[in-house]
């Protein structure tokens, strides 16, 4: 398992909008229950809000570097007068 964070990891861009989005969406409470399917870690970052399909979010695990897709819908709806929070 790679632990030396000074070693650049494959596929990691060093700046730009993609990084900014990753920072913005990582730690979103909507994803609190997501864990890595390989090592069960919850140290994750959101690579993309839309993954290989519109229904998936792409995550990367900080502990084992696994990238994985997570099915996003958990019944959450945007605010509306019809929905009781």
């Amino acid at each position: 398992m790679p632990t030396d964070t000074s070693i650049p990891r494959i596929g990691r861009d060093l700046g730009g909008y993609a990084s900014r989005h990753r920072d913005l969406h990582t730690g979103d409470p909507d994803f609190n229950d997501v864990t890595c399917p390989e090592c069960d870690s919850d140290k994750l970052e959101v690579i993309s809000l839309f993954g290989g399909a519109a229904s998936e979010i792409m995550f990367r695990c900080h502990d084992c570097d696994t990238s994985f897709n997570w099915i996003k819908w958990r019944g959450k709806l945007p605010p509306t007068p019809s929905v009781k929070e």
């Binding site: 993609a18 900014r20 969406h25 809000l49 839309f50 519109a54 605010p79 509306t80």
Partner: protein, 259 residues
């Protein structure tokens, strides 16, 4: 046959049909916006997001057309037989985006406005309508989250913020107009087909739009009262036909290929 919720073949209430078609057609145009603009994305995650939102909106359109077809409408006509005057999309999306900020503002307003109207059917008697409304909401939730991320990035740049505000000033009244006159009739609600009055949905839309000031870091201006021209088409929720240039983008290009 008189409309009976959950019974295919029964004719829908006309105003209810109009509501559904306005949502479906606005989403058709929105899907085309995403398809046309995807290569203007700022990064690969943008490409994935825009294409994802594109397919989701096409899917919503298709599902609503199919529902209408189950209630006596001609699917082929709905999908590829209509002219520019028959497509009931919001005036909000008539004019192509002038830049990235305009694209974000316009698509966000279109996603939010269509959701608000659809959400009025979450408790619809027909499970097909209620289920479709819920599914649209679940997907729109993440479309709005994507927009929200961009608000924060745009809010960090002075020039980008100015462009956003300029676009918002132009687009927001068009989005609000889609809900119709404040004192207009709301037959769908009066008949109990939609359990939330349009006024309440319009107010919720305005409130939700105003909440964008948090990620943006700046308040958004208030819209001036909208004057509805005499040629306002309440059935289509728009003024006039869609522009010829837009019709050229959204029209079905080759009906032979569809068979």
């Amino acid at each position: 046959m008189v409309y009976t919720p959950g019974v295919p073949g029964t004719a829908l209430d006309e105003q209810f049909r109009n509501d559904l078609l306005a949502v479906a057609d606005t989403k058709l145009v929105l899907g085309n916006w995403y398809a046309e603009c995807v290569m203007n994305g700022r990064s690969l995650p943008d490409f994935a997001a825009i294409l994802g939102m594109c397919t989701a909106n096409y899917g919503h359109t298709r599902a609503i057309y199919q529902y209408l077809a189950a209630h006596g409408h001609d699917y082929v006509y709905l999908e590829r037989g209509r002219g520019p005057e028959d497509i009931h999309s919001s005036n909000l999306l008539d004019e192509a985006p002038t830049g990235w900020e305009d694209f974000i503002v316009s698509t966000w307003l279109a996603e939010l406005a269509t959701w608000m109207l659809v959400s009025g059917y979450l408790n619809h008697e027909d499970r097909a309508v209620a289920g479709l409304s819920k599914k649209i909401g679940e997907e729109t939730y993440f479309h709005l989250k994507y927009a929200n991320g961009w608000f924060q990035i745009i809010g960090e740049g002075k020039k980008q913020s100015q462009l956003f505000q300029k676009s918002y000033t132009k687009r927001f009244p068009l989005a609000l107009q889609w809900f119709g006159p404040v004192r207009g009739k709301d037959q769908v609600h009066e008949l109990g087909i939609r359990d939330v009055p349009l006024k309440k949905l319009r107010d919720a839309f305005k409130k939700e739009v105003a909440s964008a000031k948090n990620p943006l870091g700046a308040a958004l201006g208030q819209a001036k009262p909208i004057k509805f021209a005499k040629d306002w088409r309440s059935d289509a929720r728009r003024l006039g036909p869609i522009p010829a240039s837009l019709f050229e983008v959204v029209r079905f290009k080759d009906t032979e290929l569809a068979h």
